[in-house]
């Protein structure tokens, strides 16, 4: 008499799992490795991108450069106004040279322009380097 004992369900499942597992572990997936590799490459510091980036309008450095540019233009405008005024005055009085007072005023205005220009250039460089 041949008696066969049914294999319990849990044992069947375990056996199936043991058969499947080595296959699953051994099965290589190149796509997954590539994905990990590409992600790791993306996370590196990107100097190419940063060197081509324009200044962002929300950055304080860029806003600062706008203010400094405005200040420079105001200083240039003031110098031009002063030059016109002093030349006109000298012409009206028949002088060939400007008065010492006007010369001092012009020198002060030119100095202001130089300072404003230096400040603007510094701010522009900081905005681009941000």
């Amino acid at each position: 008499m041949n008696i066969t004992k049914p294999i319990p369900l849990k044992a069947t499942l375990l056996l199936s799992l043991l058969l499947i597992c080595p296959l699953a572990v051994a099965q290589e997936d190149r796509g997954e490795r590539i994905q990990e590799s590409v992600s790791s490459s993306d996370d590196r510091i990107d100097f190419t991108k940063s060197k081509a980036e324009p200044p962002k309008i929300e950055s304080i450095a860029y806003q600062d450069s706008l203010i400094k540019t405005r200040d420079y233009k105001r200083a240039v405008s003031e110098l031009a106004r002063l030059e016109r005024k002093t030349k006109k005055r000298a012409t009206e009085l028949g002088f060939t040279k400007l008065s010492a007072k006007d010369e001092r005023a012009l020198a002060a205005a030119r100095s202001k322009v130089d300072k404003a220009r230096a400040a603007m250039k510094e701010a522009e460089r900081k905005a681009n380097a941000d």
């Binding site: 997954e32 994905q35 490459s41 522009e124």
Partner: protein, 362 residues
């Protein structure tokens, strides 16, 4: 009657151009008639380096068939082209100017060529468009769309498309004594990713939609305004077609950048150091196929990058870099309970960047 696309585009252009004029009506227009340049920048960066684990082989695991080594020297070529438009600045207060709108379009390409390992050379094309609008000195928003197409050995590998709305807050005025810049960003990202290589098992299908929410704070000290500190937190959810890739990620990230002089005319100002670090806590939903579907994957990932760049030559107006030399080190350590994903990687590379910045017009 104009078609919808044409009328919408027209309305946007009109709004971008007209708004600054109305907003600036009360101020001296001649004094703030700022340069309104459209700029085009281009940069090209060749580099060479060494990667200790190109294939990201798990520690202690044998090499996969047909791959003879895990480390390799590599050559990298990167390039980026950027078009930028900014609206004319307007005055918000007697001493405050603000450019309120910016549009930036860019294309980047990066390719790596590994020596002695075939089938792992990536080529990445990235297109992006970004629109920024500032409501005032404090609040603004930005919308960025991006498409990243990746090839491996010239064959299409994946395509990722994303939309990223961002809310920006500038709070430097509340910390004027210590901060030159104190800003926060609230970033929401929606991305869909398609992979073209067939997965070996359905569970490993990486096609996915993912969503992330991020908050970051940037601080620039008042006394040393060429240094920048940034800290951020990101929560990321990935819903994939394959059960192996359904996961939640929490990321803590830090970065520090500094130049070595405050004065742009100093040579040391042209030397810049960057350190970036993030830690990921990844928790996967389902039992992983690489673990024989016995347990779910749990990863803790450390990623550290350190770089130095020195601007050897400046552009004609001395505002930006013309030619720079760069060096960087990158360390990645994935601590995973699944041996396949448990790996370290060290990368070191050195190269240079040539940038063209002369194309500006009004």
């Amino acid at each position: 009657m104009y078609p919808p696309l044409q009328s919408t585009t027209g309305a946007i252009i009109l709004a971008l151009n007209v708004f600054p004029i109305f907003a600036g009506q009360d101020v001296d227009e001649t004094l703030i008639a700022e340069e309104k340049p459209y700029t085009f920048k281009l940069s090209i960066s060749p580099a060479g380096g060494y990667n200790s684990n190109v294939i990201l082989l798990g520690e202690g695991l044998p090499l996969p068939p047909s791959i003879s080594r895990q480390d390799a020297a590599f050559f990298e070529i990167g390039s980026a082209a950027t078009f930028d438009w900014k609206s004319a600045p307007i005055a918000f207060a007697p001493d405050e100017l603000l450019s309120t709108d910016q549009v930036t379009l860019s294309y980047e390409y990066k390719a790596d060529f590994y020596e002695g390992i075939s089938g792992f050379d990536p080529g990445v094309h990235a297109w992006s468009g970004k629109y920024t609008h500032l409501f005032d000195k404090q609040w603004g928003y930005r919308i960025e769309t991006k498409d990243i197409y990746t090839t491996i050995d010239g064959h299409g590998y994946s395509n990722k498309t994303s939309v990223t709305p961002v809310i920006t807050l500038q709070a430097a005025q509340y910390a004027e004594t210590i901060a030159k810049d104190l800003s926060a960003e609230f970033i929401f990202s929606f991305m869909t990713a398609d992979f073209y290589f067939p997965p070996s098992l359905p569970a490993r299908n990486m096609d996915a939609n993912n969503y992330s929410a991020e908050c970051s704070i940037t601080f620039v000290p008042k006394k040393y305004d060429v240094a920048k500190f940034k800290i951020g937190f990101v929560h990321f959810r990935n819903d994939a077609d394959g059960s192996d890739y359904d996961y939640d990620r929490n990321r803590l990230q830090l970065s520090v950048e500094t130049r070595f002089s405050r004065k742009p005319e100093d040579r040391l100002y042209d030397l810049k150091a960057i350190i970036k670090y993030f830690h990921d806590f990844d928790r996967y939903d389902h039992a992983n196929s690489h673990a024989g579907f016995a347990f779910s994957r749990q990863d803790d990932r450390d990623d550290l990058g350190a770089g130095l760049t020195f601007d050897v030559l400046k552009s004609a107006d001395r505002k930006s870099s013309r030619f720079a030399v760069n060096i960087q080190y990158h360390y990645l350590r994935d601590n995973s309970n699944v041996p396949f994903f448990n790996y370290p990687q060290h990368t070191i590379q050195a190269g240079c960047t040539y940038a063209f910045d002369e194309l500006k017009w009004r």
